[in-house]
């Protein structure tokens, strides 16, 4: 396969101390928001540190307007020269158009994909499969089965993430972004089991996320999870862990990733 990728996941939310500004936050199991930076500033840092691409998700539960997100992406695009995936509150094909024309390369859909799965087929036909990323958040329940959650992880569905992933591919998704909600921000490792189950069943790239706390977790995500890419939101924000360092450590373990200098 082509080179594995490392992708910072940038989560946007309205700032607590400055309600007119959206800032980047870290999360723990989709809550416990801690404000850690500015979208354009952090994007530039990740670019200079050689991230392979960027993922922006608007996780605010109130300010979900596409125009706000488009505005931020527009500013980011002026200074960022690598692929950008954008999501959070995308509802219609017009939303795809708006974000694409403001600099996004790929659009991520989550809740709307479950509520109206035809949007996957339609967007893929209109904009190309490479533009359509379906984001799948899930949790393991008491019955030991995993279920897909929507609405920022607040609403449980009856879908299994594996079956849903396979269906998304059939409908034309170009890429999948997985997140185990329980592991999100907890730093004890990714869910490699579900990731592996999905990655071995679909042909489209799988990005795994949720739980990186050590460089080793990234390595496991590639080796055990068989993911094409690992995305991380919290890992780089609160540690003396520079993106390029993580990259060296992953390279040292034998994974074929881009070495950037």
């Amino acid at each position: 396969m082509s080179k594995r990728r490392l992708i910072p996941k940038l989560q946007l939310k309205t700032s607590h101390y400055n309600p007119s500004k959206m800032v980047l936050v870290t999360t723990k199991q989709f809550s416990d928001f801690i404000e850690i930076g500015d979208a354009v500033s952090q994007s530039k840092i990740f670019q200079d540190q050689g991230a392979d691409e960027l993922i922006f998700i608007n996780i605010d539960r109130v300010n979900k307007g596409i125009d706000i997100l488009a505005g931020i992406i527009h500013n980011v695009s002026a200074e960022i020269f690598m692929p950008i995936t954008v999501g959070g509150g995308v509802q219609t094909e017009q939303d795809f158009r708006t974000l694409l024309s403001n600099g996004a390369d790929k659009i991520s859909i989550n809740t709307i994909a479950v509520n109206n799965p035809d949007i996957i087929n339609n967007a893929s036909a209109k904009y190309g499969a490479q533009c359509v990323v379906v984001s799948i958040d899930y949790k393991q329940e008491a019955d030991e089965k995993c279920y897909v959650y929507i609405n920022n992880g607040s609403t449980k569905t009856k879908l299994s993430p594996i079956d849903w992933a396979v269906e998304c591919e059939q409908r034309g998704a170009g890429e999948l972004l997985l997140c185990n909600i329980d592991r999100d921000g907890m730093r004890y490792g990714l869910d490699n089991e579900i990731c592996n189950a999905i990655a071995t069943q679909v042909k489209i790239p799988v990005i795994t996320s949720g739980g990186c706390g050590l460089a080793k977790h990234f390595i496991d995500g590639f080796k055990q999870g068989q993911a094409d890419a690992v995305a991380s939101g919290t890992f780089f924000a609160m540690q003396d862990q520079n993106f390029m360092q993580t990259r060296s450590q992953i390279k040292n373990s034998g994974i074929n990733i881009r070495v950037y200098s």
Partner: protein, 204 residues
């Protein structure tokens, strides 16, 4: 002054931002007449060959481009689909004619290795000849590609860069004042910007 062709397809914003970031004077050309006011031309493109050629013809950009690029010899860069339309014809979804600036066809990437995917989306190491557009770019630098079809040149001297995807796939072509890349320099960080920077100062 650099003019970016706006025919309704392509990620104009990123291409524009990249040139602007590098300090070039750049404008978006919505009408073919505007091409006569610029010194260099950029043809971006994302999507299907057939749609692209239809739009170029509908907007009369094809005539203007032939005039400005072939007749007047203005330095030109084509990006991704913008490179593919420079070929003679494409087999994407049928058979369609291109601008014919290069003796080449656009054919599908076919692979035997099941671990590889089409479309190929991601970073790939590019091998290149010594030429002014790749000046300062080390051998085997990664560039960002998103494509299912590629430009198969009949004249191998037109090919100045390739990357391996089962076979050597054309990554960049060059003939006189016309330069093109299959990869997206505006999405390939530093070395992508370096290529655009080289284009800005290029005097073929």
């Amino acid at each position: 002054m650099i003019g970016i062709v706006d025919y309704g397809m392509g990620n104009l914003l990123s291409v524009y931002s990249a040139f602007d970031y590098l300090g070039a004077n750049v404008i978006i050309c919505k009408h073919p007449e505007e091409l006569s006011e610029v010194g260099k031309i950029v043809i971006p493109g994302v999507g299907a060959f057939k749609d692209c050629m239809e739009l170029l013809k509908k907007e009369h950009f094809d005539e203007a481009l032939n005039e400005q690029v072939i007749k007047l010899g203005k330095p030109t860069i084509g990006i991704c689909l913008g490179m593919q339309v420079m070929a003679k014809k494409s087999f994407e979804g049928g058979v369609y004619g291109g601008l014919g600036w290069f003796d080449a066809d656009v054919i599908k990437l076919t692979i035997t290795d099941e671990k590889k995917r089409v479309p190929n989306i991601g970073w790939n190491e590019v091998s290149h000849t010594s030429n002014p557009l790749f000046e300062g770019v080390p051998e085997n630098t990664d560039f960002y590609f998103v494509h299912s079809y590629f430009v198969n040149c009949h004249d191998s001297s037109d090919v100045i860069a390739t990357y391996p995807y089962d076979i050597p796939v054309t990554a960049s072509i060059l003939k006189n004042n016309i330069f093109a890349t299959q990869f997206h320099p505006e999405k390939s960080q530093d070395f992508g910007l370096k290529i655009l920077d080289n284009f800005i100062s290029w005097n073929p």
